[in-house]
């Protein structure tokens, strides 16, 4: 009997051992490696001898917004719909941005849209809104949103540079603003121009032309990308980027939001802005060109510039002169 006791004790120990709760440690799930955005390969500029800034010549004076729009035109379609659908930015301060306090999207680009809408529907009565549906689109969505077959936008006003490769996909209005690429740095930076920024981390939106221009300007700069211009400002504020490169209009908005930043005077590219419109509606392009011509003359353009861009970019330059003469492609 006594011999059984150690045996029983051993069995008891064995038995209880298998019922214990020794759970495996919960594993931290592996972080999916971020997909590296393919570097934007700049489309080879093939202008085939056509001036990229040349748009379609407007036909005579604009139709009276009080009356109907000419039959068969896209303006008629818009008027019948009751609103102009525009693709805009909501995060480019002073160009197209959502004012957090009022919730309204406003800025220089938005004023251009309002001018087009008012030319179709007439000036809204005081207290009324412009007849516009603003769709917020991202930078890479600018061309697809115009070419969308199901629910396209009529017009895109989102600091879009006119160039020949884009002309293959969409039409542009005449130039409405001349921007250029500059670089933003910290207030205490001693850099004079992009040459002094070697080995510094500079942010530009992924897939943008700004990124390519920057690499061309000084290959020793370490580029870092964000999804949007504002994403770059966040990286800058978090100390992950020592500077931002982009259009002077965008950088002006960044400086306005962050007093610890300054923009270097060196401008190393020309960025003529145009309003994007579908290639299907050359009559609408002509109409918009007529509107732009009108607002450049009647002070609307300068008033808008003074309101949005003057504080950061200085006195209003003369509005860019429209260039025409592009032949309308056969449908």
């Amino acid at each position: 009997m006594k011999k059984l006791i150690p045996l029983a004790a051993a069995t008891a120990l064995l038995l209880t051992a298998c019922g214990n709760a020794n759970y495996a440690t919960t594993q931290i799930p592996p972080v999916p490696s971020p997909s590296v955005a393919a570097p934007a390969t700049p489309a080879p500029e093939n202008c085939k001898g056509v001036d990229p800034l040349a748009s379609y010549q407007p036909d005579g004076p604009l139709p009276d917004p009080k009356g109907p729009m000419p039959a068969g035109t896209w303006m008629e379609t818009i008027k019948k719909r009751g609103r102009l659908i525009a693709g805009v930015s909501a995060d480019s301060f002073n160009l197209g941005y959502r004012d957090p306090i009022t919730g309204q999207i406003q800025g220089f680009d938005i004023d251009m849209i309002y001018a087009v809408a008012d030319a179709i529907f007439g000036k809204p009565a005081p207290g009324e809104a412009h007849k516009v549906e603003l769709r917020v689109i991202s930078s890479p969505a600018r061309i697809p949103s115009l070419r969308d077959t199901k629910n396209p936008v009529d017009i895109v006003a989102r600091n879009m540079t006119i160039n020949c490769s884009r002309w293959d996909q969409i039409a542009f209005s005449a130039e409405y603003y001349r921007s250029g690429q500059k670089t933003l740095v910290q207030l205490d930076s001693t850099a004079k121009n992009a040459d002094d920024l070697s080995d510094q981390t500079i942010c530009a939106p992924a897939g943008s032309t700004s990124l390519d221009n920057l690499k061309k300007r000084n290959p020793k700069i370490k580029p870092i990308t964000a999804d949007t211009d504002t994403g770059c400002l966040v990286l800058f504020q978090q100390g992950k980027a020592q500077g931002i490169s982009g259009d002077d209009t965008v950088l002006a908005g960044d400086v306005a939001q962050d007093p610890y930043a300054k923009v270097l005077p060196e401008r190393f590219s020309e960025e003529p802005y145009g309003l994007g419109i579908s290639l299907q509606h050359p009559e609408f392009v002509k109409f918009v060109n007529g509107v732009l011509e009108q607002i450049k003359l009647n002070g609307y353009w300068k008033a808008s510039y003074d309101r949005w861009l003057e504080p950061a970019l200085g006195k209003a330059p003369a509005p860019p002169v429209a260039r025409y003469g592009r032949p309308i492609p056969p449908k």
Binding site: M1, K3, L4, A8, T11, A12, L15, T16, G19, N20, A21, Y23, A24, T25, T26, Q27, I28, P29, V31, R83, I85, G87, A90, D91, F93, Y97, R98, D99, P100, I101, T102, G103, I105, E133, L134, R135, V136, I137, S138, A141, S145, T228, T230, G231, L233, V234, Q237, G253, Q257, D258
Partner: protein, 442 residues
């Protein structure tokens, strides 16, 4: 084991284990075998052998019964602890998505968030932080992931506050901070929460399965000992021409009684645990999932509006989340009270929001509904109604799980610690019964 050369195998008086002695009962023919061999010789020897076998079996039965009970009892206990942990993790998840729904919705109103919404955001985040500490104490195996989760929440909270500070100053960069915060939550925090949910669901399943395994121990142990008792009694009856050896029969009865009472009560406990698992526990899971999906849907409603016309992806995410709510509410079934109606009411306001925004192009009107400024069609009010009602139900079902599992555990007879004493008692009865017969051979 190596045998030493100096020890001739036949003369070593080592005590062979009881099992081997039994298989060599005709030891008396093998000449002088020493005291042990003599002890098992003849009928009294066999009696002693049966005595040892039956007594050992009784003790083994006692151990098996104790093991079976402590296994089931432990599994019930751990199932209770793990369901509590799972509910805690789900609550962390709910609090996080609810905070995020507040934050994204506040973005639609701009810098001037409604104070109640702000308070709700702060409370949700605070509740999540408290629950994380609680969960780390309750389940050490979850500690690493919970620590990682805490880190992401510090980043999240920081980004949200930066977004608010910029929003308050009217700077549009606030929206970028909000987007970043949202992506920290979606890409960094929620995968951790999901890993925790999966790990704990697995643990709960393992323990629920383990509850019924205790029954096997007691049944197998009981049947084997009863068989040994039956053989012993039969052999004794034949050898001694007495029908029944009362003490040994009493031992057998004791084993039988323990087996029956233990088996029945364990089976009962495991059945009631099974019931809890398929009803109250299922409902708790479904309600938690429905609530999480509902907050997700609500966030996506806001995100669709924030994206202003390019929110197709968010709209699709809304549809998927809303379908998930319907599916989970379907599992809750009739026990959900008016939850389905409340959810349908919210969905119909949501449809109006989409109609106003997408079909009529009236973004401001849609936002008024989504932030509760439009009092006839307020998705805030309808959502809050669903939220508070589903929260009450979840509290009810999850306490139900806890109390049902506790009742099942409390209902078990104390065989866990009585098992071994009972086995020893049965062994003593065998010894007593057998010694009466052995007396006759003195």
């Amino acid at each position: 084991m190596t045998q030493t050369q100096s020890a001739p195998p036949a003369t070593v008086p080592t005590a062979p284990p009881p099992g081997t002695t039994l298989q060599a009962p005709n030891a008396r023919t093998a000449g002088p075998r020493g005291a042990v061999a003599q002890w098992f010789e003849g009928t009294p020897g066999r009696m002693r052998a049966f005595l040892i076998l039956a007594a050992a079996m009784s003790v083994v039965f006692g151990l098996a019964a104790a093991q079976g009970f402590s296994q089931s009892d432990g599994a019930l206990d751990r199932a209770q602890a793990n369901t509590a942990q799972l509910v805690r993790i789900q609550a962390i998840h709910t609090n996080l998505v609810s905070a995020n729904a507040d934050a994204t919705n506040a973005f639609l109103v701009g810098g001037l968030e409604p104070p109640e919404q702000r308070a709700h955001f702060v409370n949700s985040l605070a509740a999540a932080a408290g629950l994380i500490a609680e969960a780390a104490t309750a389940q050490p195996a979850d500690r690493d992931v919970l620590g990682a989760l805490n880190k992401t929440l510090i980043t999240y909270g920081g980004l949200i506050e930066q977004a608010r500070a910029n929003n308050r100053q009217g700077l549009p960069i606030g929206s970028q901070y909000l987007k970043d915060a949202n992506s920290v939550l979606q890409d960094d925090s929620l995968p951790l929460v999901k890993a925790l949910v999966e790990a704990n669901e697995k643990r709960v399943d393992t323990e629920f399965d383990g509850i019924s395994q205790g029954t096997i121990w007691i049944l197998v142990g009981g049947l084997l000992s009863l068989a040994v008792f039956a053989i012993t009694l039969r052999w004794l009856a034949r050898r001694t021409h007495r029908y029944l050896n009362v003490p040994i029969a009493a031992g057998a009865a004791l084993v039988l009684l323990t087996t029956v009472v233990g088996g029945v009560s364990l089976a009962g406990a495991s059945n009631s645990a099974k019931d809890t698992r398929s009803s109250e526990y299922e409902r708790t899971l479904a309600l938690s999932r429905a609530r999480i999906a509902a907050y997700d849907a609500r966030s996506n409603e806001s995100l669709t509006l924030i994206a202003r016309g390019s929110g197709d992806a968010f709209d699709k995410a809304y549809t998927a989340a809303a379908a998930q709510v319907d599916e989970q509410l379907g599992k809750v079934g009739g026990n959900g009270g008016n939850l389905q109606q409340l959810w349908t009411a919210y969905k119909s306001v949501h449809d109006k929001v989409r109609e106003t925004d997408a079909k009529q192009g009236n973004w401001d009107g849609a936002v008024a509904m989504a932030v509760g400024k439009d009092e006839t069609n307020s998705s805030v009010d309808t959502f809050n109604a669903f939220d508070s009602s589903s929260n009450q139900q979840l509290t009810r079902t999850s306490t139900g799980v806890q109390s049902e599992l506790k009742d099942a555990r409390d209902g078990l007879p104390p065989i866990g610690w009585l098992g071994v004493p009972l086995g020893i008692l049965a062994a003593l009865l065998v010894a007593w019964g057998m010694s009466q017969r052995l007396e006759e051979y003195r």
